[in-house]
């Protein structure tokens, strides 16, 4: 049945020409604002900022190497990433959860454009993480004590992980629109991004398939020797994130032929980008880098610059040359406490690294047998400073670095006095330089190469000397320098010469 009231031509409304992307951007702005105001995201952003502050204050003892600082920016963004994973997923499923799809399904913006907007909504929070990374890196980079160079590729990993997390949340919402999917995805991502790389090891090509690789290394090597495929890895992560996001858009409904073609082309591009990055990162370390690592390890003088500060010469890898003045200050302090010819002896302080295995391995270095040569490592500050001081002192007392590993007599007291007597808080430095982190009993004393042994008696004497202070001890050291540095001198004799209580028993190293 139909009733015709009036026969009249149907009126056609004329819609203005529309730009299909402008609505996507408008929705992306709306969604990004909602995303940034979600409690998990706010909480994790706050936790991320706290993490940055903690890492920045606790790391590198005020002497950062920027090629380490860049990698240290990578794990913190995962905090934000997990929140983004959860909240993007919930945002995509919001209309399903609250039964608004019945309305939204008949509105102009099709599901694929809504999914694209959700994908774009991840960018502002990623931008905040970029700011976080820049702040974390910049905080260290502006320090006058900073050395080395950061890698843009390494710095991009953190923000790209956030992007990847968002893309996973997005795709999961489209593939498995169930509440349980996200906890499962989060656990898998945790295993994939944090636990798996730790168990595989950064040297493996497969490890680079995971988002964050090898930040746990404790070595610092010249940036040109690192050989980490950071740029390729960034390309890989970018390609992976784009692939997942575009897949999510492509499996959403409402696409026209044109949009499908554009999206399919973009997906092919994203996959190609990921493959290029994946292949690049799997290529391993170049032969040039391997050769350069060998040279830097075995013949560092070939690539180092040497500068003279006072009596001594300091040879460092180019990135560390600005730090030689700091080393010279320590050398001068140690020599100022010494007696005999030691106080004017010309030393060669040479920076050395074990770079042949890249970031892998513990980086142990054999002590030098060359007279008057002291090894300095790439890290500085904190316990590294008294360790170097101890090495300088051992060379002044024993003649060369290698002898330090064998010394078991009273000369150890003189070495430790020279190493620590000039410092402002010598007891703290004593604790820092000892492997046991104590100021009593026997312990290994750390140095840039092999450690030295300190008996309980020697520790006791050194502690008394440090308590007495330089004004009391230094004149005695200078006066008795020959006896104090004579081979086989006992600790008791040294104590007696320096006017402190002698320990009981003979010197006996464990």
């Amino acid at each position: 049945m139909s009733t015709v009231l009036t026969e009249a031509p149907a009126e056609t409304s004329t819609a203005p020409a529309r730009e299909p992307w402008s609505a996507i951007f408008a929705l992306a702005r709306f969604e990004s604002r909602k995303l940034l105001l979600r409690i998990p995201v706010l909480f994790m952003l706050a936790a991320y900022v706290a993490w940055i502050v903690w890492r920045t204050k606790s790391g590198w003892y005020g002497y950062p190497a920027l090629q380490d600082v860049d990698r240290a920016t990578q794990t913190g963004p995962l905090l934000v990433g997990f929140a983004v994973l959860l909240c993007v997923n919930q945002a995509v499923l919001r209309s399903q959860r609250h039964d608004t799809e019945r309305l939204f399904g008949v509105l102009v913006l099709e599901p694929w454009r809504r999914t694209a907007a959700h994908a774009l909504s991840i960018l502002p929070v990623t931008g905040l993480v970029v700011l976080g990374v820049a702040a974390q890196f910049g905080w260290q980079a502006v320090k006058s004590t900073a050395v080395g160079h950061g890698s843009v590729g390494e710095l991009l990993v953190g923000p790209l992980c956030v992007l990847l997390c968002g893309a996973i949340g997005l795709l999961m919402a489209r593939l498995v629109p169930k509440p349980f999917a996200i906890p499962v995805a989060a656990v898998l991502l945790l295993v994939f991004s944090v636990l798996a790389p730790a168990s595989i090891g950064g040297g493996s090509a497969t490890a680079w398939l995971t988002p964050i690789v090898g930040e746990g290394s404790t070595k610092t090597i010249p940036s040109e020797l690192i050989g980490r495929p950071a740029v390729s890895h960034s390309l890989y992560l970018t390609g992976l994130a784009l692939t997942l996001a575009l897949l999510a858009v492509l499996i959403s409904k409402g696409r026209t032929k044109t949009s499908t073609a554009v999206l399919a082309g973009s997906l092919a591009g994203a996959i190609a980008l990921g493959v290029v990055g994946g292949v690049g990162q799997a290529a391993g370390v170049s032969s040039e880098t391997v050769a350069a690592r060998t040279v830097a390890t075995l013949n560092p003088q070939k690539v180092q610059s040497c500068v003279r500060h006072g009596r001594s010469t300091y040879c460092a890898f180019p990135e560390w040359v600005p730090r030689t003045a700091t080393w010279a200050e320590v050398t001068d302090h140690v020599q100022s406490l010494a007696g005999g010819t030691a106080q004017t002896r010309k030393l060669l302080v040479q920076q050395r690294v074990e770079a042949r295995y890249g970031m892998e391995g513990d980086g142990a270095i054999e002590p030098s047998t060359t007279p008057n040569q002291v090894t300095v490592r790439t890290m500085w500050g904190g316990p590294r400073t008294p360790e170097f001081s101890a090495a300088v002192a051992s060379v002044l007392v024993l003649g060369n670095e290698k002898a330090g590993g064998d010394v078991c007599d009273g000369r150890m007291v003189t070495i430790m006095w020279l190493a620590l007597g000039w410092t402002s808080d010598p007891v703290t430095e004593l604790r820092a330089v000892r492997l046991s982190d104590t100021v009593t009993g026997s312990s290994i004393v750390l140095s840039p190469t092999n450690g030295m042994t300190m008996t309980a008696g020697q520790t006791s004497v050194v502690r008394e000397l440090l308590a007495a202070g330089p004004s009391t001890v230094t004149p005695k050291v200078k006066a008795h320098w020959a006896e104090l540095t004579a081979p086989k001198v006992t600790t008791a004799k040294v104590a007696q010469l320096l006017g402190v209580k002698a320990p009981g028993g003979a010197d006996k190293c464990e």
Partner: protein, 286 residues
């Protein structure tokens, strides 16, 4: 009056169930009421006209746009406002945010203009004072007005309202009627309802559906006229009446075929509606 929405031969089946059976109608500016019992096919018809589901057969146009092609469907959606039955909300959104969100999905992309439009429709449904309040803190009537604002945003030419007054108290329902009447000025509104009073008060036309088919299409007066001479009062319940009930005055009001000499009374729209449905039952059992 100009036809704005026309449908011809719309049919839709869900498995063995025929939800729409050769439905044809033409709508003009103003509010058209859609009456019918549960399962009559009202919501299905509204969903088809709102482009939520395609019909198996038949055609329709909305303001000249044919939704059978993707481009036509998009154009149809651009002139459409839809308030589904028991609409969902995002409870953590404010009323403003929810309507703003819908406005974006309607491709209102200029932020300033869109926000002005959102404020306008929220004012139109008297929600300006609570536009910043989260939807979960609003009353049922207010939520329903948020849904109406979402339907009105973008000034659509064709408004589809599926039982918007269900669950509202009498005061809220009266308020809602005012809003719908206002919304019907200058645009085409199709209002599905179980409330014959809504139709009597708001609609210039009424369509009655049952079992997926249009049983009546005309003015409310024409539907009321169907009951002329078929409503009478009596002191006892008339066993031959199709329907009968005791009124507040203590007499029985009977609808059907009156006995000779019966005391006829003025029919209402509801009487016409009941008799139209009864006629359909008679057809079905004949």
């Amino acid at each position: 009056m100009t036809t704005t929405v026309s449908a011809a031969g719309l049919s839709l089946r869900y498995g063995l169930t025929t939800a729409l059976d050769d439905v044809s109608l033409r709508l003009t500016e103003g509010v058209t009421g859609l009456l019918g019992p549960n399962g009559a096919g009202k919501t299905t018809l509204l969903r088809v006209l709102a482009t939520a589901v395609p019909a198996d057969e038949g055609t329709f146009t909305v303001l000249g746009h044919d939704p059978r092609t993707p481009a036509g469907r998009q154009e149809t959606r651009r002139v459409l406002g839809y308030l589904p039955q028991t609409p969902g909300f995002h409870p953590d959104f404010s009323a403003f945010d929810f309507v703003d969100y819908v406005a974006i999905l309607k491709e209102l992309t200029d932020r300033t203009a869109r926000h002005n439009e959102v404020r306008r429709v929220l004012a139109e449904v008297d929600l300006s004072d609570v536009r910043g309040k989260r939807i979960k803190k609003l009353s049922g009537g207010m939520r329903q007005r948020v849904a109406l604002a979402a339907a009105l945003v973008g000034d659509p030419g064709f408004l589809v309202l599926d039982e918007p007054t269900v669950g509202l108290d009498p005061e809220q329902r009266m308020r809602f009627r005012e809003l719908i009447a206002r919304a019907g000025e200058g645009r085409t509104v199709l209002l599905s309802t179980h409330q014959t009073e809504d139709v009597a008060m708001l609609c210039h036309r009424v369509v009655v559906m049952a079992a997926g088919r249009v049983r009546f299409d005309g003015t409310p007066a024409e539907l009321t006229a169907r009951a002329a001479g078929r409503v009478w009062s009596s002191s006892e319940r008339d066993p031959n009446a199709k329907a009968g009930w005791r009124t507040g005055l203590g007499v029985f009001r009977n609808v059907g075929d009156p006995p000779p000499g019966a005391e006829l009374v003025e029919p209402t729209l509801e009487d016409g509606y009941l008799l139209t449905l009864d006629g359909m039952h008679a057809e079905a059992t004949a």
